[in-house]
């Protein structure tokens, strides 16, 4: 096909897409390069070395970062789990509850954490905790995280549920399954992908949160973002660059892994489908 007549091709869009990637990656690449800088100063190049990676694992601040990473992981895991359970229930109530009074109000309430600007949520939560004498600590972070994770879990789960015909539940109930069995044996497995992506999304959101955590964290409790913020506030240091590089590589690894697994699954599916066609 001649390009001039291809409605899917516009001159320059490829260039902009590349520019987009360039803008996204250049800071991270620069940081990655400088993480191998032997010099103490970040502005001068002092040869290649792995000393900052050593520093990440065994340096003075390594204990603090390890603890912070552990806290982050635990909080994200628990917040995402609880938020996913609550959001799954809420999705079923909203999507399968039919029309009821206050439905849009309920929708608004569930999405409120996304709609309220983060800084307002942070300040309001802090003031509220202090007003009810809720002791700031790891628990206060967890509660705040559950709140803002709920809508992020809700959106993919409810989107998935919307695409599932109600007849599956009816069929299950018709076949003598009670409400819980219907959920356990039919609805939950079919909603599976939505629940998983809801969980992952809220997990990442929790892992990434800085502003709200920074306001509601208790004495001496750090998550990875607040610990990093404490370290970079005074300027980025080589060990932070090394840490960032490790985090980047870790996420690239995870993303690639999920891509490969997803692709394998797809291949398997198409193979089976092809096999079927031959027999029929």
């Amino acid at each position: 096909m001649r390009k001039a007549f291809n409605v899917k091709h516009y001159n320059g869009f490829f260039f902009i897409a590349c520019l987009c990637l360039f803008i996204l990656y250049s800071p991270l690449l620069i940081v990655m390069i400088y993480s191998f800088n032997d010099s103490l100063s970040i502005t001068r190049w002092g040869g290649v070395s792995l000393r900052w990676y050593y520093e990440v694992f065994y340096g003075l601040e390594s204990e603090k970062f390890k603890l912070a990473a552990w806290n982050s992981l635990i909080i994200a895991l628990m917040a995402a789990t609880i938020a996913t359970i609550v959001a799954t229930a809420a999705s079923i109530g909203m999507i399968r509850g039919g029309q009821f009074r206050g439905k849009s109000a309920s929708f608004g309430l569930i999405l409120l954490p996304i709609m309220v600007p983060e800084i307002v949520t942070a300040v309001a939560t802090l003031i509220f905790f202090s007003a009810i004498s809720f002791k700031l600590g790891i628990l206060s972070i967890l509660v705040a995280h559950i709140v803002f994770c709920i809508p992020f879990a809700y959106l993919p789960i409810s989107a998935r549920l919307q695409g599932i015909e109600a007849s599956y539940e009816e069929a299950a109930q018709d076949l003598y399954a009670n409400r819980w069995k219907t959920f356990k044996h039919v609805l939950m497995p079919i909603m599976g992908p939505g629940i998983i992506s809801g969980f992952l999304l809220s997990f990442i959101i929790s892992l990434d949160d800085f502003i709200i955590t920074n306001f509601v964290k208790g004495a001496g409790v750090e998550t990875l973002p607040t610990a990093i913020f404490g370290a970079v506030k005074q300027g980025i240091k080589p060990n932070i660059m090394a840490l960032s590089t490790l985090l980047l590589l870790f996420s690239i690894f995870l993303v690639t892994l999920s891509y490969v697994i997803g692709k394998k699954g797809e291949d398997l599916k198409t193979k089976n489908n092809k096999g079927e066609k031959h027999e029929v």
């Binding site: 015909e165 007849s167 009816e170 069929a171 299950a172 003598y176 399954a177 009670n178 079919i190």
Partner: protein, 366 residues
């Protein structure tokens, strides 16, 4: 009515109202019907007539607004679907996508907490019945439409329900398969001896399979009867029009003569009709005549023959359909079997006579 028959399902004065926001819709208005045990019963009607609603009320998927439903003389309105010994074949089958064929069929038995070897035995038995034994380990998305249909059937039959509900189960199949499945369904019903309640908007399906049919329209049951009764003696204008093709003519009762009713058409012509309802002299109503009960002739042999001019004719393979214009805004559709004799005999605009079979015209009061 035949007293030997056992009542399987009794629907009494059932009304269903849907509330959607501010507005409410009456999906069923005071519906009454009785379905006998071991019967192939069909709910027939156009979309939106309330037949699916009625089915869902029997299954228990909807709350009833008014009235009662009994299953073998027991009130079931307050039972949830999982407590009713009734199973459903869904329109799009609703086979659980995450389970294989075996587990789909075994689902109901498992929920009834049957023993494992019993479940296996019964499941394979049902799969065998529908000739799907070899597909037990397939996932539902690896089956063709017809296969899915059979599995859905097997799944609903496996727990041995007292009544099987089928919600337009053939609508998603192509024509050939649909016709084959009609025979199979009918056979299955006879073999299992289970009451089938079948919902469809397809009159051919209804007429060919059912023991009895309930024709429904706008939330009301219009007529209940055997297929032939429904076709030959429609209770009202709606049934006559909905089942098969028909000519509907306004008419006034001129004279009642035993079974035969003499009616006058607006054009002044007189027709001989019968009716199942009580009619009085001078009553206005409608006459329904099936196109195949009319014959076109070039010459009149009977004073009651109607005179007109030939309009469009449409060749339909076995038949040809003619239009005869009787007067202003008054025409008849006539269907005649094709034979070498009839072809090309008639031309557009020819003056013709239409003779009506005895006992072909039905006078309907509404």
């Amino acid at each position: 009515m035949n007293d030997k028959k056992i009542n399987s399902i009794e629907v009494t004065n059932v009304t269903k109202v849907y509330n959607t926001g501010a507005s409410s819709t009456k999906a069923l208005k005071n519906a009454n019907l009785t379905i006998y045990d071991n019967e192939f019963f069909t709910l027939l009607g156009p979309s939106g007539c309330g037949k699916t609603t009625l089915l869902r009320l029997i299954a228990g998927f909807e709350d009833i607004t008014e009235g009662t439903i009994k299953l073998f003389n027991e009130e079931i309105v307050n039972l949830p679907p999982n407590k009713r010994p009734i199973n459903t074949v869904f329109q799009h089958y609703a086979l659980f996508p995450h389970l294989n064929v075996f587990e789909n069929v075994a689902f109901g038995l498992r929920r009834l907490n049957k023993e494992n070897n019993l479940i296996e035995k019964r499941t394979m038995e049902v799969l065998d019945l529908i000739q799907m034994k070899d597909y037990a380990t397939r996932k539902s998305n690896q089956l063709s439409g017809g296969q899915q249909q059979r599995v859905a059937l097997a799944r609903a039959l496996a727990p041995k329900p007292k009544v099987l509900l089928l919600d337009e189960p053939l609508s998603a199949l192509d024509l050939k398969l649909r016709q084959a499945m009609r025979v199979e369904l009918k056979t299955l019903q006879r073999e299992t001896g289970i009451t089938f309640v079948f919902v469809t908007h397809d009159q051919d399906e209804a007429l060919s399979m059912s023991d009895r049919i309930a024709v429904m329209s706008s939330g009301q049951v219009q007529q209940i009867g055997k297929p032939s009764e429904i076709y030959e003696y429609p209770a009202n204008r709606f049934v006559a029009d909905f089942i098969g093709e028909t000519n509907l003519l306004n008419a006034t009762v001129e004279k009642i003569d035993g079974k035969s009713i003499l009616c006058r058409l607006p054009s002044g012509q007189i027709l001989n009709a019968t009716s199942k309802s009580k009619v009085n002299s001078g009553q206005k109503g409608i006459i329904s005549i099936r196109p195949e009960k009319l014959i076109i002739k070039k010459k009149s042999s009977n004073e009651r023959d109607l005179k007109g001019n030939l309009g469009q004719s449409t060749y339909l393979g076995t038949d040809t359909q003619f239009e005869v214009i009787l007067g202003k805004d008054l025409s008849l559709a006539i269907r005649m079997q094709n034979s070498p004799l009839t072809s090309d005999t008639y031309k557009l605009g020819d003056p013709v006579f239409v003779s009506i079979d005895d006992d072909a015209a039905r006078f309907l009061i509404n």
